[in-house]
């Protein structure tokens, strides 16, 4: 397990209602994430892994961050994820490849892509391939909340 929690509290919602021992956060904060919906972020950019989980938590969700698709797939905590926020371009497995992989594993987690690429049609392409949304960096907290809510509605 090699994700970074950026020093923030890491919370999750276990499908069985209890957190596995290895997933427990290292430091305890006032606000518990128990009972919150788990939103997982996969991005190779460290600054995103630092900042985005905090915002997601401020929006009222539990958040986990992974630096690569491979790490996420190996973690097993993905099973509790209700919404996946994934960077499109990453070394190794890319965002769309992760999407394919999850489909193969019959894990239908709604995905919101995020990307710094400015190309016009990338959003359309991602939506076409079954993404709930595709946010172009930089994006606002409102846009993020809308996208996550849309994702959760598809569940």
């Amino acid at each position: 397990m090699n994700w970074t929690d950026g020093g923030s509290q890491c919370a999750f919602e276990s499908p069985k209602g209890e957190a596995p021992a290895w997933a427990l956060p290292q430091s305890q904060r006032e606000r518990s994430s128990v009972g919150r919906t788990l939103v997982t972020i996969v991005d190779d950019d460290e600054s995103v892994r630092e900042s985005l989980p905090d915002l997601v938590r401020e929006l009222g969700f539990a958040a986990l961050a992974f630096s690569s698709a491979e790490e996420f797939l190996a973690s097993e905590t993905a099973y509790g994820t209700k919404c996946l926020i994934v960077d499109v371009v990453m070394p190794g497995m890319t965002g769309p490849e992760l999407q394919q992989e999850l489909k193969l594993r019959r894990r239908n987690i709604p995905i919101v892509f995020i990307t710094a690429q400015t190309s016009e049609n990338i959003r359309a392409r991602m939506l076409e391939q079954g993404a709930v949304d595709c946010l172009i960096k930089p994006f606002s907290d409102i846009a993020l909340l809308d996208a996550v809510n849309s994702a959760l509605r598809t569940n």
């Binding site: 020093g7 923030s8 190779d44 950019d45 460290e46 600054s47 995103v48 630092e50 900042s51 985005l52 905090d54 915002l55 401020e58 929006l59 371009v89 990453m90 070394p91 190794g92 890319t94 995020i114 710094a116 690429q117 400015t118 190309s119 172009i136 960096k137 930089p138 994006f139 606002s140 907290d141």
Partner: protein
Amino acid sequence: MNTPGTSITDRPIDDSVSGDSAPLEAILCEEDFRRRASRGPNYERETRALVKLMGALADSPSTVLQTLADTILEITDSDSAGLSLLTKDGKTPHVDGKRFFWPAIAGMWNPHVGGGTPRDFGPCGDVLDRNSTMLFTHWEKRYPYLGCATPLAEEGLLVPFYVEGKAVGTIWAIMHSDRRKFDAEDDRVMASLGKFASSAYQALMHIEDLKFQVAEREKAEAEVRELACGLEAKVRRLVEANVVGIAMFTLEGAIVEANDAFLNMVQHSRDDLTSGRVRWTDLTPPEWHNRDERGIEELKATGAFLPYEKEFFRKDGSRVPILLGGTFFEGSGNEGVAFILDLSLQKQTEAELQRSEDFLAEGQRLGQMGCFSWHVANDEIRGSEQFYRIFDFEAGALITPELIRTRVHPDDLTLYEKMVVQVRTGNHHFEWQYRLLMLDQSIKYLQAVAHATLDQNGQLEYMAMVQDVTARHLSDEALEKARTDLAHVARAMSLGSLAASIAHEINQPLSGIVTNANTCQRMLSAATPNIEGALETVRRTIRDANRASDVIRRLRLLFTKGTAATESVDLNETAEEVVSLLRSELQRNRVVVQLELTGDLPSVVGDRVQLQQVVLNLVRNGSDAMAIVNDRPRRLVIRTERDDGQRVRLSVEDAGVGFEPQAAERLFESFYTTKKDGMGIGLSVSGSIIESHQGRLWAELNEGSGATFSFSLPCMREKEIENEDVLAVSRIDSGDEIV
């Protein structure tokens, strides 16, 4: 004749004739001669002398004249005796001679043999004029030159001498003292001897003539014999040597006899020949029958036919090209002998020669190359077909240096004249480039190479090659222009795609800033503000803002500082910048970049943007080369290190598909590319950039997979470093790893 007496004849007549010389009568003693008492005839002695003379005539005709002189001396009991014969050349008797000469003399005047007297001024001439015997006394009184003929003549008796009725000389007897005087008996004996001498001389001439004829005939016969013998031997040798085919034929078509050479040529055995199975009519392919008929007509008309080329069938049905010539046997109207030469080899050689000539002509045509020779002594210039075409000369036109001059571009005339001077002074080898101005005002660029040789007479001759390099020249120009244009395009293009990278690079920190700011806002606006969390987001916001400004700083360096032609460039920095600029692209291509940068690397001097472009190019190429690699990490190592001899080296090592070893040289050529969508200008432009920095760019295949492209540049010298305005750019280290 080197006898003392020859002096008489050697002396010119004019010296001898003087105005006061004595009249003819003064030296004649005819009255006295008739009155003198005559001695009795001595027939016995006379007969003995004549027999001796006849014997001499029979035995040794060559000495008969001397025998005659001896006989006269003996019979007349004189002191000297001899004969004078008319001659033209002083030696050979001739009836129209202008002088008398003395072929034989007996007695005291014997030393004067070979001498003689003038036809019209001397005693002999007087005798022929009067056509009678004459008795002279002291003839030197009238003919002073005879004063030299010693001893002097007291009396001289001269009798005319005829051959075939024509007076050709005299016989004579001389008394040098008054021991005795000539009388009528001497006159009679001399007349008789004269007649004998005449017939003897005539016989002698006849014999000589016969001898000559016999000799001539013998000689001719010998020659004929020798010729016949030699000819026969030659013919036999020719037949047996089997160098040429020889066959005896009849007009009906039979081949009666033939040598092995002929049989080999048509692949028939001697048995085939002797059994009559080999017929020239059967050997001849149908299309040659007409030609044979013409040959036979010629043979019938002239007895021989001139050689012509035709074909014969071999026994196996293949054909052999031959040269055929022949003749009838002497006196035969039906049989003859023919010689047959096998032309296979010659035809083959001809074909080969033709082929190589064709190749040469084709090569010259394709290469726009013309050959010509220039014989300097007589300005004889011979050119190949392509030479005429290049200069647009009419086919077969006589080429002179002046004619060539009419085609030379006016601006290059001086050059041309210099060239002609060089030719005349016999420079060994030279090359020029000059232009032609054609009649249609088009310009041709020529390159000429000439090499001096000596012809078979040892005279100076040039073999030269002239090539129309117009197309090359124009394409060189065009290529140069295209290269310049493309360098601009390439630069613009890489800047264009850089813009996308840059946007990406700026959007990343911007995204962090926005996210952190949003988070901060939410943390602070909560019922219980999360001050600690807000401070954290603000810290990250500042960091991301610095990152963004760092990207912008690099960008400014790239675009504004870039135009400076020479500045200090740190290749480590360049490598980092490029990787940073290409980050998203490399990520997209899933390339793992590994920077192995040597610390305290000396700077180089150069154009920052250009060098950056080179590194950018190499990194992109490396990344592209790994696009289809899936069985191993797409690892790209960028390495900087010190190189030998005050140089630094930057290499980009990929794990891609590499390149064909034989393509190594072409990699840096313009428009050479192994990429499907590449234009093939990147490496070429990179190469020229590195070259303009006094550096070297090269490619190597890795031991494992992929290739390494490296360039090496000279370090900045210490002096330059001292003078350098160190760029006061404060780098804000973002602290993050570049992956």
